[in-house]
């Protein structure tokens, strides 16, 4: 059927957002997605403020210092991604299990508890900022560990919310039907909640403290989150492209096996310089070198599928973001990771802007993209399952422009930070021997300043892309007369 014929046969003027066709889990997922998107914009905004302070160190000095902006920037990222993952799982939980969610009310309470806790934590970060070096500050203001600065009371709340989430998932699958995705997901959630506890106790020995802290940071991001995304991706591929369950589940098992083989002991690359025994140089180096294997394997499967099958999708934005996920994950985690993972070079790059370059592309590629893809799946269903393929009323300019701006912005920031990190590694670390003078020599070098200026330019581009994405998610499909099923006939 041609699009003109469909247009003339349907007289629908607008499609308002509607929750009518959503099940209980999907309604809860919309709450999570909304907060995730707000936190995403907050992440971009505080990133801009922190970036500006590299160029104008007096900017907001003593009002909103760099350490606060950076902390909110990174914490907002971790939390919005977590909200996105939890929302995505609630979205498909009833479809996957075949029954209504067990303990949905508890899930709703957990959502509000988490959201109120996040709000209070951010307000304390911004308004109180610091406290005396006592247990009281650890409990009420800031725990002091990079990336997981949330005070102890909020830590306990996060674990409690994760356990409620685990209960919802495990009990629902137990009541309904189990599947490969269900099994992997449930086991992964135990690890997700359990590993966070490793970052909650305090020791006076910095080496021991960092040793356990990395369990949360590395094993969350490069183990439990990867598997979580694998489950979400498996379900998305069945929904978006109609891939058979047997295929996605088999590849999910393979991913878990590869993750066990490389990702877990790849943890060693964080233990190079924190005072742990020397054997971690070998363990970290070898297993980190294996980490690109799953990503290269992904290329084989993609080429095989594109050569053998001809898939069609009715949600172009979601599919485009899944393709961005594959590329971003490969370059950010694979190429950028391997470039500085062996101890022979990591000695110079560790903790410089090189790490920030790798972090920006890897987090965006591996996690932000898949969450955004899922937002588009949710919006499609909220617009009464409207057509989101080709020939959209406005030619889909907003999602395309948002995608270009976000991807170009992040890639631009990554390259700019790479140049800054290279200069820091070379001048501060290799030439000046990590001295205090070397630090300032590197920070005031023209290469560093120019790189940071370009990072700011691309940061603004990313922010505009984020705003456009938000606008598109609120408006896409509003004036689309065709339903997905009719248009795909």
């Amino acid at each position: 059927m041609s699009s003109q014929a469909i247009n003339s046969s349907v007289t629908l003027a607008t499609r308002p957002f509607s929750m009518d066709k959503l099940n209980g889990g999907q309604k809860l997922a919309i709450h999570y997605f909304t907060v995730a998107m707000i936190l995403f914009i907050a992440q971009l905004l505080f990133g801009l403020l922190a970036g500006m302070q590299y160029l104008m160190p007096d900017f907001l000095y003593n009002t909103l210092d760099f350490n606060v902006n950076r902390m909110v920037h990174i914490n907002a990222m971790i939390v919005w991604m977590l909200y996105g993952f939890i929302g995505s799982i609630y979205w498909f939980l009833e479809d996957e299990s075949g029954v209504e969610i067990v303990g949905l009310k508890l899930g709703k309470i957990a959502f509000w508890v988490l959201t109120v806790a996040v709000t209070i934590v951010v307000l304390v970060y911004l308004l109180v900022q610091t406290g005396s070096g006592t247990e009281r500050s650890i409990w009420l203001i800031n725990e002091g560990r990079e990336y997981i600065e949330a005070p102890r009371w909020a830590d306990i709340g996060i674990v409690a919310v994760m356990l409620v989430f685990f209960y919802n998932v495990a009990a629902t699958f137990s009541k309904g039907k189990w599947s490969g995705i269900a099994g992997v997901l449930t086991l992964d959630l135990i690890a997700l909640a359990g590993l966070y506890i490793a970052g909650m106790f305090y020791t006076t020995n910095i080496s021991v403290d960092q040793y356990w802290w990395w369990w949360v940071i590395h094993l969350w991001v490069e183990a439990t989150w990867e598997v979580l995304v694998g489950c979400i991706m498996a379900w998305s591929l069945m929904t978006l492209l109609g891939v058979r369950r047997k295929i996605v589940q088999t590849w999910l098992y393979i991913e878990v096996a590869l993750m066990f083989g490389s990702g877990i002991l790849g943890l060693g690359h964080h233990y190079f310089w924190i005072g742990t025994p020397e054997y971690w140089l070998t363990i970290g180096g070898f297993f980190s070198a294996l980490e690109p294997i799953p990503l290269v394997a992904m290329v084989v499967h993609s080429i095989y599928d594109s050569g053998v099958h001809h898939f069609k999708t009715r949600n172009h934005p979601a599919f485009a973001w899944i393709i961005a996920h594959a590329f971003g994950n490969f370059f950010g985690a694979g190429v950028w990771g391997f470039m500085h993972t062996l101890p022979q070079i990591n000695l110079y790059t560790h903790g410089t802007q090189w790490s920030a370059s790798h972090g920006h592309l890897a987090f965006f590629g591996a996690y932000a993209t898949i969450n955004i893809a899922f937002f588009y799946l949710a919006v499609q269903k909220m617009r009464d399952d409207c057509w989101m393929g080709g020939n959209m009323p406005d030619n889909g300019w907003k999602w395309k422009a948002a995608m270009v701006l976000l991807n170009l912005g992040v890639v631009g920031m990554t390259v700019a930070l790479l140049i800054a990190g290279y200069e820091q590694s070379f001048i501060e670390r290799a030439v000046e021997g990590s001295s205090w003078g070397g630090y300032f020599a590197a920070q005031s070098h023209p290469w560093f300043i120019q790189a940071m200026t370009w990072r700011m330019v691309f940061g603004v581009m990313t922010f505009i892309g984020g705003i456009l994405l938000f606008w598109d998610l609120l408006t896409i499909g509003k004036t689309e007369p065709r339903t997905a099923e009719v248009a795909s006939q």
């Binding site: 070198a289 290269v296 053998v308 070379f426």
Partner: protein, 101 residues
């Protein structure tokens, strides 16, 4: 004990590391495409890219001072990237058997 990269080799260490991953991807992409579409020329191209990958691994190993047992890593990279696409392709064919049938 490790021997850090020399100052003069700083850029090449990053460059060869990136090239290892990129040539590996081009190699596996060409190899898989050649197998799926039965293209002999593409297969020759994949071997050519694999030779470039081996060159990168050798250069990388020299620059990074991968001596002693670290040489195992170089061998693993060279052999691993050769066998990996073959194994993954077998898995692809096996998992898609019903579609082909």
């Amino acid at each position: 004990m490790i021997e850090p990269v020399a100052l003069a080799d700083f850029f090449m260490s990053f460059f060869t590391a990136a090239l290892i991953i990129l040539t590996a991807v081009v190699y596996v992409a060409l190899y898989t495409w050649a197998e799926v579409k039965h293209k002999r020329l593409v297969k020759y191209a994949s071997w050519f890219v694999y030779a470039a990958l081996i060159g990168c691994v050798l250069l990388f190993s020299l620059i990074m001072h991968l001596n002693g047992y670290w040489q195992i890593l170089s061998v693993l990279m060279a052999l691993g990237y050769w066998w990996m696409p073959r194994l993954i392709l077998r898995l692809c064919v096996a998992t898609h058997e019903e579609d082909e049938g």
